[in-house]
């Protein structure tokens, strides 16, 4: 099977929270080696999509990783298969030191544990600031540093597919730029497939090979990043242009 060209296949995904239908039968693919983004307004269902891929919410539909179904797996098992999640709101642990947070990145499996030292020094190259702050409580880092830590921790887990939930949320423009440069580097140099969720549509579309627009639980539009950047309705609604 040549399905391994697709890192992730998401088929007919539906999620209900009580009466609220957060996702209504969405399907999309993430080709191996690409950066794919999901953009959309607040409450569109972006986080829910990532969480259901990770197995953290009850869902209908199927998710395949390199052609093999990962339905029914617990989140830690999904992480063990190589889908590593960097949660919304910089899911770091403020009560642990930076180094302890990074060590938790190895919970994805024995390979990540074995390569910890090497992966850590590679992380220092991407995030030199973290190196100086290893013994500091993660809660005392700046917002941008916390986001870097969240991404670094995910990389320590040796992801095959990296799920990034709004990495630019609440960061200053220069830091946003830096974060997106790092995402590109991770993808190009470390060959990590990235599924990116963003409200910052402009930056996300710039780095994406392909993107999907989510609107209240359905995919309303899709296309290459550069195409969507020039699409009239995207420009109007998500890029705030008139």
């Amino acid at each position: 099977m040549s399905t391994s060209l697709l890192a992730l296949e998401v088929n007919h995904l539906s999620v209900n929270f009580g009466n609220v239908q957060a996702l209504k039968n969405i399907s999309f693919n993430v080709p191996t080696g690409s950066i794919i983004s999901l953009i959309g307004a607040n409450g569109a269902g972006k986080t829910t999509t990532l969480r259901s891929i990770s197995g953290a919410v009850e869902r209908k539909g199927e998710v395949k990783l390199f052609g093999n179904s990962i339905s029914g797996l617990e989140p830690y098992q999904v992480a063990g298969k190589g889908i590593v999640h960097s949660p919304e709101g910089r899911g770091i642990f403020p009560n642990l030191t930076v180094l302890e947070n990074l060590k938790l990145g190895t919970m994805t499996g024995p390979h990540a544990e074995d390569h910890f030292d090497q992966n850590l020094s590679e992380c220092y190259l991407l995030f030199p600031r973290l190196k100086e702050r290893l013994r500091q409580m993660a809660g005392t880092l700046s917002g941008g540093e916390q986001q870097m830590l969240a991404i670094a921790r995910a990389l320590i887990g040796e992801p095959k597919v990296l799920l990034l939930d709004e990495p630019s949320l609440g960061l200053a423009p220069q830091v946003v730029k830096l974060i997106f440069e790092i995402i590109l580097k991770i993808n190009r140099e470390k060959k990590v497939t990235v599924l990116l969720v963003e409200q910052n549509a402009k930056q996300a579309l710039k780095v994406s090979d392909y993107a999907y627009v989510l609107e209240v639980g359905t995919i309303s539009l899709e296309g290459k990043g550069s195409e969507l950047l020039n699409n009239d309705s995207v420009r109007k609604i998500y890029l705030g242009e008139h």
């Binding site: 830690y76 770091i92 060590k103 919970m107």
Partner: protein, 300 residues
């Protein structure tokens, strides 16, 4: 002065037993924001298993360290198994249930163990024979410390040091502390949260079982309701230290143990048991987050 030293020795010995129990409350609260009201009863079951192990091994071994290790080992293992069972059968199915349901479950499990205990072990107190020859040491003329107090203190310190290592130096400990910040995030980044919760219950119950035996060494009678009061006091100690905070639980327990013996020694032993509740009320009024706790009020 000598009287004061004597009370201090007694208080530290009692406080270190409370500390072992308080640690279980605080660890479980840390990961699940749940007060395991059955914790005092796990302590009780621990001392009963210690008693049975004692009866089983005593004919074959002289009192001494080997017997102590065998008895403690049985009690701790039995308590660990019980703790894991309680978590699996009682609390795990309630993971997403409202707080009040979980609270009622906890009380139900506690009553089940207390009255089930009366059925299984019998309601009348039973004598717990010492597993060391008790010897008295005179520090000054009127200040004595006995071998039981020394063993209680040393064993408690040993167990607490081991726990401290586990919590602050191992991947399990990091996972546990991560969970206490956010179960959801821990889950998403690949921590097997159910396993961490299970081990946390196991560890807390192991310490409670050890405390049960040490308590029986100091107050040598065991009965099915014996866990109620020490359990409540250890809970107060955990709240005093800041529930969820491991160092806080130990400090709170030592403060409680010491103040109880001072009150009993200088005022009257009738007030001894009331003291814990007075402390609880004061803490809740003045500093609900406890001495070392986060400044955030938790509704229990």
């Amino acid at each position: 002065m000598e009287e004061f030293i004597q009370h201090t020795i007694n208080g530290l010995s009692l406080g270190s037993i409370y500390a072992l129990v308080a640690l279980g409350y605080t660890m479980v609260f840390g990961v699940l924001q749940l007060i395991n009201f059955a914790h005092g009863d796990i302590f009780m079951v621990g001392s009963f298993f210690g008693l049975y192990a004692m009866r089983f091994f005593a004919p074959h071994f002289q009192p001494g360290p080997v017997l102590a290790i065998l008895v403690m080992g049985c009690a701790m293992t039995a308590s660990a198994v019980l703790g894991v069972l309680i978590e699996h059968l009682g609390y795990k199915p309630m993971r997403r249930a409202p707080r009040i349901n979980i609270l009622i479950t906890a009380i139900g499990i506690s009553l089940f163990l207390e009255y089930g205990g009366q059925l299984v072990f019998g309601a009348s107190p039973q004598f717990f024979p010492p597993f060391f020859e008790k010897t008295q040491f005179h520090i000054f003329d009127s200040v004595t410390i006995d071998s039981n107090q020394i063993s209680i203190f040393l064993i408690a310190c040993l167990l607490m040091t081991a726990l401290q290592f586990l919590v602050f130096k191992t991947q399990f400990g990091r996972s546990m502390r991560a969970l206490s910040h956010s179960l959801d995030t821990a889950n998403l980044i690949g921590i097997n949260v159910n396993q961490v919760i299970r081990i946390t219950f196991m560890l807390g119950s192991t310490l409670a079982g050890a405390a049960g035996v040490l308590y029986a060494l100091a107050y040598p009678k065991v009965e099915p309701l014996m866990g109620v009061l020490p359990g409540l006091k250890a809970f107060v100690a955990a709240v005093l230290g800041g529930i969820g905070n491991i160092t806080g639980a130990v400090i709170g327990a030592l403060i409680l143990g010491l103040s109880e013996t001072y009150v009993a020694g200088y005022i009257s032993s009738t007030y001894r048991d009331a003291l814990a509740f007075i402390i609880l009320i004061i803490v809740l009024l003045v500093r609900p987050s406890g001495l070392l706790g986060k400044k955030r009020i938790e509704k229990v």
